[in-house]
């Protein structure tokens, strides 16, 4: 190909480079994904966590097809390097996310690593894991004035709807 300046400028290129090349990148992601399936909550660098998210959710979509499906079993076999996790994927993780269409993972950013590289870190987890929650959604107390007014408003609307159903 023509060697031009545009090759050195990466404006608008979304694909990340990790490791030594594309094959190395897939192997790294495979290892991280195996760790995620085993522990259900892992801590890595931000870029790697973001990359793994896509593959983690796609793996769950394949697992939902069931372990009798040929393609699903091949995918699980390729992506999980530790083979004792394949039954866990099909029997534990797939049934957990049966009702959800997408968004099986959650990523939360954490302070930079303490090493010399000061890498930006993130925690990646499958939802519904048995650990305590990472971040609780901050909601205002139910008893504050505005919430009490809204509660009264909702109750009145429910009453009116019930009265309309009767009539």
């Amino acid at each position: 190909m023509r060697l031009n300046i545009q090759m050195l400028i990466s404006h608008g290129r979304v694909a990340r480079k990790m490791g030594l090349g594309p094959e190395s990148r897939i192997n790294m992601l495979r290892n991280i994904l195996t760790g995620l399936v085993r522990h259900e909550r892992i801590e890595t660098t931000r870029g790697r966590a973001d990359e793994v998210r896509f593959y983690a959710e796609k793996l769950i979509d394949y697992a939902k097809k069931g372990d009798t499906d040929e393609k699903a079993m091949k995918m699980a076999n390729f992506w999980l390097t530790e083979k004792d996790l394949i039954p866990k994927l099909f029997k534990v993780l797939a049934p957990r996310f049966e009702t959800q269409p997408k968004a099986y993972t959650r990523m939360a950013r954490i302070p930079n690593r303490e090493n010399l590289d000061k890498a930006a870190m993130a925690v990646l987890e499958y939802k519904g894991n048995p650990f305590p929650p990472l971040q609780t959604a901050k909601r205002d107390n139910e008893l504050t004035l505005i919430n009490q007014l809204l509660k009264g408003y909702r109750e009145e609307r429910a009453q009116q709807a019930a009265a309309k159903v009767e009539a």
Partner: protein, 343 residues
């Protein structure tokens, strides 16, 4: 000569009724405020020498802090001023030894103090106090709103739950206004009057008085005097709490919040006629308000406001009964709700 005796008789008749001649509302207010100031000065003069009391704070993060304050002079407000500005602006009510205490009432003995805000884990007391204060503000606005020729009598401020959607103030207007119904413009002008009071950020000064002084304050208003007698009969100590805001003196059933500046969104939503009562045509003025720490988005505000325009039914029982919820629970849809406003 017969003419002279007739004239003298007439004069004497007219002279006896001159004592009960109606003062203009401004003069009545001035007189009430003067009696209030006199009583306030007398109560302050009960502590000529500065004595110290110890106030223990029970605020999260400052548990057990000891403040040395002046007896009969220091208020929870001044205790908050010893902390940071946030405590001064955000505290609405104080709890002294577990009892609700208005923020500007002087402390008389060593006690434990905690300052309550709108965002506490249990803001029920603060919510009720805020609702009462907004209703008191509404009463004050109504008293000021009409021209001098028309009399306005505030009957009472019914204790309404916050979930009912609006605070109310029962009022009787001049008999000449019996046929008057408020238009949207007049409600808006009442709202503007309330917003002006809020902007002036007036404190509600509390004062605990014995019934004779309260009767003197309200000497021109028969229904207020009856209310004073009722309240003094109910209170354990036999005293009555008066509050002054600006130059209006009000009677209240419970503690009010610190100052008018705590309200941010305030609107007078409706004035409903209730029918003939013992003082004339009773009307219920309703409004909706939110404090500055809990401001609502305009879409949410509009929904709450349309609800606040509906008449709020107050359960007619003795004031000692716990105020029950005015809405029937939604779990019993078969029974027709007894408090239907629109139908």
């Amino acid at each position: 000569m017969a003419c002279r005796t007739v004239c003298q008789l007439l004069q004497r008749r007219l002279a006896s009724s001159a004592a009960s001649v109606r003062l203009s509302p401004a003069e009545v207010r001035g007189q009430r405020s003067a009696v209030f100031s006199r009583e306030q000065a007398r109560q302050r003069a009960l502590y000529p020498r500065t004595e110290k009391i110890e106030v223990t704070l029970q605020i999260p993060g400052l548990q057990g802090t000891l403040l040395v304050m002046n007896k009969g002079v220091s208020t929870p407000h001044s205790c908050a001023r010893h902390l940071t500005e946030w405590y001064v602006t955000s505290s609405a009510l104080a709890l002294v030894d577990g009892n609700p205490w208005p923020l500007h009432q002087p402390l008389t003995q060593s006690c434990s103090l905690s300052l309550l805000t709108f965002k506490d884990t249990d803001p029920l007391l603060v919510n009720q106090a805020y609702w009462r204060s907004c209703a008191a503000l509404l009463g004050q606005v109504l008293e000021d709103a009409f021209k001098e020729d028309f009399s306005v009598e505030l009957i009472r401020v019914p204790e309404v739950l916050v979930t009912s959607g609006a605070f109310c103030c029962d009022v009787v207007l001049d008999p000449q206004l019996d046929a008057w119904n408020p238009s949207e413009e007049s409600l808006r002008s009442l709202t503007r009057g309330a917003q002006q009071l809020i902007h002036r950020d007036l404190p509600w000064e509390p004062l605990e008085v014995v019934p004779p002084v309260a009767l003197e304050v309200f000497s021109h208003s028969r229904c207020k005097q009856e209310e004073v007698e009722e309240k003094s009969a109910q209170s354990p100590k036999g005293t009555v709490m008066l509050y002054r805001c600006g130059d209006h003196v009000l009677l209240s059933g419970g503690p009010l919040v610190a100052r008018t500046g705590l309200c941010s969104q305030y609107e007078v939503t409706a004035i409903h006629p209730l029918g003939e009562g013992e003082w004339g045509l009773h009307r219920r003025a309703q409004g909706l308000s939110l404090p500055f720490q809990l401001q609502a988005h305009h879409t949410v505000w509009r929904k709450l406001r349309s609800r606040a325009e509906k008449l709020v039914e107050v359960p007619t029982g003795s004031a000692n009964e716990a105020v029950s919820d005015t809405l029937t629970p939604p779990s019993a849809p078969k029974q027709t709700p007894p408090h239907t406003a629109q139908q």
